[in-house]
């Protein structure tokens, strides 16, 4: 019923509106010829800087060069006593970090009420209260990457260009360095040269790789990857998928199938899919929440990887993703080397939210 109504509304509007346009005989849109090469958007982070000594980066080290703590932006807040403007500016700082209006308002109003009740008048104390509150909201989740199965399969999903392939490359290097036997499955059979890109990472990391032809069925490539991992007794399969915009129903359907097939493939090898990681680019704005919602509906996301946090973007949208959808942030990408992909740390993340660029 609903469906027909929708069609109907669509038809009615189209016919009444769209058609009128045809009638007016405007030059028809230069409909370009349609050869149909299919290509997708570029992936994320670049290079494969040969890893310098794998000294794990910290938020502070990485961000220190880009940001000065509590400089500029909140400087003016600190120099006054608390007033309405203070709270407005704190809210503004959160909004500018892409936290989103709803979350920013909610948190700031709560803290404001609490500050009033506690009689807090020092702006530095108010900022501290806000940070503590944010850290509480972000903390307490299980952020471990689970691999209690052999082979354990980690599936990587996300929209185009967020850095899925690169994340797999880095994580693969890390896990191989930790003594794991890793197989990468090049499930992005859509974007030109995505398979080559992953293969270069696999070679560098010393991981196995299973690729299919360009345009091959991603489910079957990943299935083969898992089977190959089972055959060679590998511990971990990192399965790449093509970037897809979450509002494309057919592509999300394809992803559901990938998940089903991966589950079955893992089961056949005595393992299981232990992580489905949604990769989100720190520059993403409010659309990130819609991405997380749709992807988790489709494939039951277990965690978020926040990439490109070493830029000027703060990645605040993951706050909403975690608080509204309960999906924990597990990893953050703070640079181009394999060692720059590190565990999420709520304290550092929140401190960085308020840093000026």
């Amino acid at each position: 019923m609903e469906l027909l109504i929708v069609i109907l509304i669509a038809l009615a509007l189209l016919v009444v509106v769209g058609i009128g346009f045809v009638v007016r005989g405007r030059r028809s849109v230069e409909a370009p010829p349609r050869p149909t090469p299919e290509v997708e958007l570029e992936p994320a982070t670049p290079p494969v800087v040969v890893e310098a000594p794998p000294k794990p980066a910290t938020f502070r080290e990485r961000l220190g060069k880009a940001r000065s703590s509590l400089g500029g932006y909140l400087g003016s807040v600190l120099s006054r006593t608390i007033d309405t403007q203070t709270w407005d500016e704190l809210e503004e700082a959160l909004i500018l970090a892409d936290v989103g209006v709803a979350t920013a308002t909610r948190v700031v109003e709560d803290v404001r009420a609490q500050a009033k009740a506690d009689g807090v008048t020092d702006p530095a104390a108010a900022i501290e209260m806000l940070k503590i509150r944010l850290k509480q909201e972000l903390g307490g989740h299980d952020i471990a990457l689970h691999n209690e199965a052999a082979p354990a399969v980690w599936l990587f999903v996300g929209v185009n260009g967020v850095g899925k392939t690169t994340t797999i490359g880095k994580l693969g290097s890390r896990e191989v360095a930790a003594g794991k036997n890793v197989v990468m499955a090049a499930g992005d059979t859509f974007r030109a040269a995505a398979g080559e890109q992953l293969e270069m990472w696999a070679d560098r990391a010393g991981a196995g790789i299973v690729r299919g032809a360009e345009g091959a069925d991603p489910s079957s490539v990943i299935f083969d990857g898992i089977a190959s991992a089972g055959a060679r007794g590998a511990d971990l399969v990192l399965a790449d998928t093509a970037g897809r915009l979450h509002n494309k129903a057919n592509l999300m359907e394809e992803l559901r199938k990938v998940r089903r097939v991966a589950d079955r493939g893992a089961e056949e090898q005595g393992g299981s899919v232990t992580e489905v990681l949604l990769v989100i680019d720190a520059t993403t704005g409010q659309n990130g929440l819609a991405q997380a919602r749709t992807f988790t509906e489709a494939v039951d996301v277990t965690g978020v990887v926040l990439t490109k946090l070493d830029g000027s973007a703060k990645g605040g949208i993951v706050m909403a993703i975690q608080t509204e959808l309960g999906i924990p942030i597990k990893l953050v990408g703070l640079g181009e080397g394999a060692a720059d992909l590190i565990e999420f740390d709520p304290d550092m993340f929140v401190d960085a939210l308020f840093d000026s660029v």
């Binding site: 929708v6 509304i9 189209l14 016919v15 509106v17 849109v29 982070t45 670049p46 030109a192 509002n247």
Partner: protein, 488 residues
């Protein structure tokens, strides 16, 4: 979360209806909603502030003209201000008098530069040019390979060599001169705006090849940071324009507004899909509606124009208005509609569609079933489904591989739809009367709508006081009023 501005306005407007004049309080409330909507669309905070101030200045004490109610007037102001920032003109590229015309692409990692290079290459080719694509992204593994693959797909040569990015870019230009290519598009590695070394490198590339156009590639999903990034690239490279990618997602693309505002350069192209031909010159006036969540009527109309045959369409419109639309017509329309892409996308482009409808999971497979049912009917049955009795129903169900009760359901629903259409038709006629008080008499609702949207296309802000046909107003009217009426 995904409420559109028109949804929000609707509530406020209900209160405003019947008021003769905008009060300060009304304006404040509307401005708060505008702020929220723009922030949720990822327009930068500072840009929103300026914008609010501009709209407030226009609203307070504005002379209300008779044709509009206060709510419509606010939407009109908002739309005009938005369009003013975005710029009304599509950017025109001028080719260098001594070829090749050199284009440098820059942007963050993952914005879609390499794909945009391929799409731009294809676009230039379709303009009768002979482009050369240069792969100077030597950083990301397989980036050059990706570009070569794209080059093969669109039959455009690609130049690259494993040296350093500045040398590759330079050699690429020489290659173009040597082989007589008249446009060179240089792809570069993604880089963070705060990475001083890499920003220095791209400045070197730019200083070496002296591009005629430098485009910043920006992801439509970008949040507040778009401003910092655009400023940094602009300071380093002096941008000429912006290419907005992934506009086929459901992000509202507020970043584009921010970038336009801070950099002051037009958005030249928009990338609207995964296929290489999903790329077009950007029409700034259309983004206003999208940012406001009012749908993208004009894109919709263009799509419709591509798939609808003029006369058929006119006939169908007439039938709808008369209420003589049959299952046969329905089938035809549905088939045309299918050519416009997944129904969900099409509906997403429409202004004012209620949220519940937009959120409805639309399974294109179900449409196929409906189609199968109708195709299994005889022509007589399609014209007058009343004649379908038990045995005919069983035959149709058999023929279409569905169940008899699905067939009855379809027929029942179609009848209800017919009724709705008649009402819709009635509305159209009413509108005609309302709108053509003094002018020539429109023949059908469709025509009037056409002239209205033509006005909208001509760009916002043209409307003279007293005329009801100004820019975004049309969209808003269609979006708010029609659907509101429609619901009733």
């Amino acid at each position: 979360m995904f409420d559109t501005l028109s949804d929000r306005f609707d509530g406020i407007f209900k209160k405003l209806r019947g008021k003769g004049k905008l009060q300060q309080d009304d304006v404040d409330e509307v401005l708060r909603e505008i702020r929220l909507a723009l922030l949720e669309a990822d327009v930068n905070f500072a840009v929103v502030k300026d914008f609010q101030a501009a709209v407030r200045a226009r609203c307070v004490g504005a002379e209300l003209h008779q044709a509009l109610n206060p709510a419509q007037q606010v939407v009109k102001f908002v739309n005009e201000e938005l369009t003013a920032i975005l710029g009304g003109e599509t950017m025109q590229l001028e080719y260098a008098s001594s070829p090749p015309t050199i284009i440098l692409m820059a942007g963050l990692q993952g914005a879609g530069k390499t794909t945009a290079v391929g799409k731009l290459g294809r676009w230039f080719k379709s303009q009768g040019r002979n482009p050369l694509m240069v792969g100077a992204d030597l950083q990301r593994p397989a980036a050059v390979e990706q570009l070569r693959t794209l080059g093969r797909q669109i039959d455009v040569p690609v130049f690259s060599e494993p040296s350093d990015p500045v040398a590759v870019a330079k050699a690429g230009i020489e290659e173009a001169e040597r082989t007589g290519r008249d446009v060179v598009i240089v792809d570069t590695a993604g880089r963070l705006a705060i990475d001083a070394d890499l920003m220095e490198q791209i400045r070197d590339i730019s200083d070496t090849i002296l591009p005629h156009y430098t485009f910043l590639v920006i992801d439509a999903m970008t949040g507040q940071d778009a401003v910092q990034t655009a400023e940094a690239f602009h300071n380093t490279l002096e941008l000429d324009g912006v290419i907005l990618t992934k506009l086929d997602g459901d992000a509202r693309g507020g970043a584009a507004l921010s970038v336009k505002q801070v950099v002051g350069r037009p958005i030249a192209f928009a990338s609207t899909g995964e296929k290489l031909e999903d790329f077009e010159q950007f029409h700034p006036d259309r983004l206003a509606g999208r940012i406001l969540g009012m749908g993208d009527m004009l894109s919709l109309i263009e799509k419709a124009e591509e798939v609808y045959d003029e006369q058929e369409a006119e006939a169908a419109a007439a039938k709808i208005l008369e209420g003589t639309f049959t299952l046969e017509d329905f089938l035809e329309q549905m088939q045309a509609l299918k050519k416009m892409g997944p129904l969900g996308n099409v509906i997403g482009l429409m202004p004012g569609i209620p949220k519940e409808v937009k959120d409805t999971e639309i399974d294109d497979g179900q449409i196929a079933r409906v189609e199968a049912i109708i195709k299994s009917m005889t022509p007589a049955e399609r014209i007058d489904p009343v004649i379908i009795d038990g045995s005919r129903r069983a035959r149709i169900a058999n023929g279409s591989g569905t169940l008899p009760n699905e067939v009855s359901q379809l027929i029942k629903q179609f009848r209800e739809m017919q009724k709705m259409m008649k009402r819709f038709g009635g509305m159209g006629t009413k509108r005609v009367k309302k709108k053509t008080k003094k002018g020539k008499k429109g023949k059908s609702g469709g025509r009037v709508t056409a002239s209205k949207a033509r006005a909208a296309k001509a760009g916002g802000g043209l409307s003279l006081p007293g005329l009801g046909d100004g820019g975004g107003l049309d969209l808003s009217e269609l979006g708010l009023d029609d659907l509101a009426d429609f619901d009733r």
